[in-house]
């Protein structure tokens, strides 16, 4: 039964709804929750960025949507709905929509492309299986796709194996396969992390063009706030398995509300502005995944932390902007030195 939440999302043209999702890797020492009750949705054609450091749960969120959580991990609570009709995502239903209405590209296409199968075969396979295309049609469409992603000599590339291509070219092939069935949602998990900056710019441009042409929504997962800021309309910031801040890109860059987001923004040296003698850095390191946290997970590293922060887990809430949410006790509180003015 669709919940109210999902009905509302249907009206809003969402193509994925993540509702109170928790993912756990149960162990003897605890619940092993690595994603703690996160909710968000992405609308058709929208580009949303999921930012966080390693271990924040951002890639696992992607895998949860795809129903590809590695054992012994499991979705311990919550629901995911995908596609235009927002079908409930389950391991069984995934066979119908994975690769077609929801597709994913990863950091290293070498791990998603079969090294022993020629590229042409791998693209045609998708079209033949999901689109019931004839051999000839599939081949023709595969050449078109490779052309569209900027492969210089598609017919030659069709006959090649993934290992002979450069990283940038492999990512283009992965993208061609991902868009071959016109996905409603494309999940891009660190798609440019392994690439040089000039190639990164090319691939991000291509990703933007493809999403516009097919009106596909993109969920871009990255540790690089610069990449996300330039590509996405909305940003979700994850820390230790929780979304700690979310909102339109401009709002988050201009007025970050969570101390973690602010620290992320200032700990990368600027390319244009005057540089400080020392970078502002966050002391300590993120908590280990799967350890049960009482209160705010960021509190041990937070310069604004008070007693309440290590006792009560802050919920994601709005201040004055209805689209900008933050999970921090200090945000907007008169008792604290104003978070924004700092």
């Amino acid at each position: 039964m669709p919940t109210d939440h999902v009905e509302l999302a249907l009206l809003n043209d969402a193509v994925v709804v993540v509702d109170n999702l928790s993912v756990a890797f149960p162990s003897r020492s605890g619940s092993g929750e690595v994603i703690r009750s996160i909710s968000f949705s992405v609308k058709a054609g929208q580009r949303v960025g999921l930012v966080g450091e390693s271990g924040s749960g951002k890639s696992l969120t992607a895998r949860a949507i795809m129903q590809l959580i590695p054992a012994p991990g499991k979705i311990s609570a919550g629901e995911i709905h995908v596609g235009d009709d927002l079908t409930l995502a389950t391991v069984a239903s995934a066979k119908k929509w994975r690769g077609t209405s929801v597709a994913m590209i990863t950091q290293d296409p070498l791990s998603s492309l079969n090294p022993l199968v020629r590229i042409g075969v791998q693209i045609c396979e998708m079209l033949r299986h999901h689109r019931n295309a004839s051999r000839a049609d599939a081949r023709r469409r595969a050449v078109e796709l490779l052309n569209a992603v900027g492969i210089p000599n598609p017919k030659r590339t069709m006959r090649q194996f993934p290992s002979v291509l450069s990283g940038g070219m492999r990512q283009r092939v992965a993208l061609a396969i991902a868009i071959s069935c016109n996905p409603r949602l494309l999940i891009a998990d660190e798609p440019t992390t392994a690439l040089d900056v000039t190639i990164q710019a090319q691939v991000l441009d291509l990703l933007e063009k493809m999403s516009q042409e097919h009106n596909s929504a993109v969920l871009l997962i990255s540790h690089d706030l610069g990449v996300v800021a330039n590509f996405c309309e909305e940003i979700l910031v994850m820390y230790s398995g929780k979304i700690v801040e979310s909102g339109p890109t401009q709002d988050i860059l201009d007025g970050p509300l969570h101390p973690y987001t602010r620290a992320l923004l200032t700990s990368v040296p600027s390319m244009t502005e005057e540089l400080p003698a020392r970078l502002s850095s966050i002391a300590g390191s993120p908590p280990a995944g799967g350890v049960d946290v009482v209160g705010c997970a960021f509190a041990p590293r937070c310069s604004l932390a008070q007693a309440i922060c290590s006792e009560i887990n802050p919920e994601l809430r709005q201040l004055d902007d209805p689209f900008h949410d933050v999970a921090c006790h200090a945000a907007g509180d008169a008792l604290w030195p104003s978070v924004r003015s700092q």
Binding site: A201, S267, P269, S281
Partner: protein, 299 residues
């Protein structure tokens, strides 16, 4: 290629994969023998050293790599790993514990970490241990080959600050190799931009980042995604870097260069001085400086 590094200074080397950044590092510490040219340290040539003299030289130049998992022995505890370097320096075993504690404090790690093994440390802690290990032999130069590339941004900032503090206190010189230009802008006094095995632009950090001349440098800087330059129209490069084993004729950048003219295809530009310290290897930039419009003749 040629460059110099002053004591207490940081030279940044930037470039894409295959540009030869890491090969420079390996040639400097004589892990690969250069096929031509010399490397000198403190005025004395160090190329083609062998045996004891090579060992002594390597004490003066240390390396910190991207992934300390590769350079730290997984079966050695932190104190053993650092102690090994102390033995190289000739320090008696009895003094090791005190020195290890001092070095750990130097890299701002708790002394309790000394008995742990690499797999019990976080990425940031491991990188601090490899810095402590490099410092153990009191080197004059530390080569940091993508030393912070694998670290999360919040940890990266800590390690960069630490490296700066160490340089301030000990006067060690850094050769800082990175593909990340914003990190180099923060760390380096001088910067060399490499493309397919050659320096195409060199200068002070200020010169290169605020007034880049070579079309490749300009494109490289423009391609860095930055939160402060959001939505700017950027100069974009097409194509990919060529195979370093088979570089294009003339200027190796000409197939991707938006400003290439006929000469670029046939003649390789020399690295010539155009500013105080700034040097550029580009025909078009050099002609522009001479104010003789040779471009018209060749176009």
């Amino acid at each position: 290629m040629s460059f110099t590094l002053q004591p207490g200074e940081t030279l940044g080397i930037a470039g894409e994969s295959g540009s030869g950044k890491s090969s420079v590092a390996r040639a400097l510490v004589q892990l690969t023998r250069p096929t031509g040219g010399t490397v000198s340290l403190g005025g004395a040539p160090v190329t083609n050293l062998k045996g004891q003299r090579l060992k002594r030289f390597r004490r003066r130049m240390q390396m910190v790599y991207q992934d300390p998992y590769d350079s730290l022995d997984p079966r050695m505890s932190v104190s053993d790993a650092i102690g090994e370097a102390l033995s190289v320096r000739g320090l008696p075993k009895t003094e090791h514990a005190a020195q290890v504690a001092q070095l750990l404090e130097r890299v701002k790690l708790p002394a309790t970490i000394a008995q742990r093994h690499p797999n019990q440390l976080s990425g940031g802690q491991r990188q601090r241990v490899s810095i402590a290990r490099a410092l153990a032999v009191n080197p004059e130069i530390i080569i940091c080959d993508e030393a912070v590339a694998a670290l999360d941004v919040s940890i990266r900032a800590q390690v960069l600050n630490l490296l700066k503090d160490i340089q301030h206190d000990t006067g060690v010189g850094y050769l800082f190799i990175s593909h990340d230009l914003s990190t180099l802008r923060f760390m380096a006094d001088h910067v060399a931009i490499m493309y397919v095995g050659r320096i195409v632009e060199y200068g002070t950090s200020e010169e290169v980042f605020s007034n880049p001349q070579h079309p490749y440098t300009r494109a490289l800087i423009a391609a860095v995604p930055s939160v402060t330059r959001r939505g700017e129209r950027r100069l974009k490069l097409s194509g990919e870097p060529p195979d370093p084993g088979n570089p294009p004729s003339g200027c190796p950048f000409h197939p991707r260069c938006p400003e290439a003219v006929e000469t670029c295809r046939t003649e390789r530009p020399e690295l010539l001085t155009i500013g105080d310290a700034q040097k550029v290897a580009c025909h078009v930039v050099q002609w522009g400086r001479e104010k003789t419009p040779k471009t018209e003749v060749t176009a």
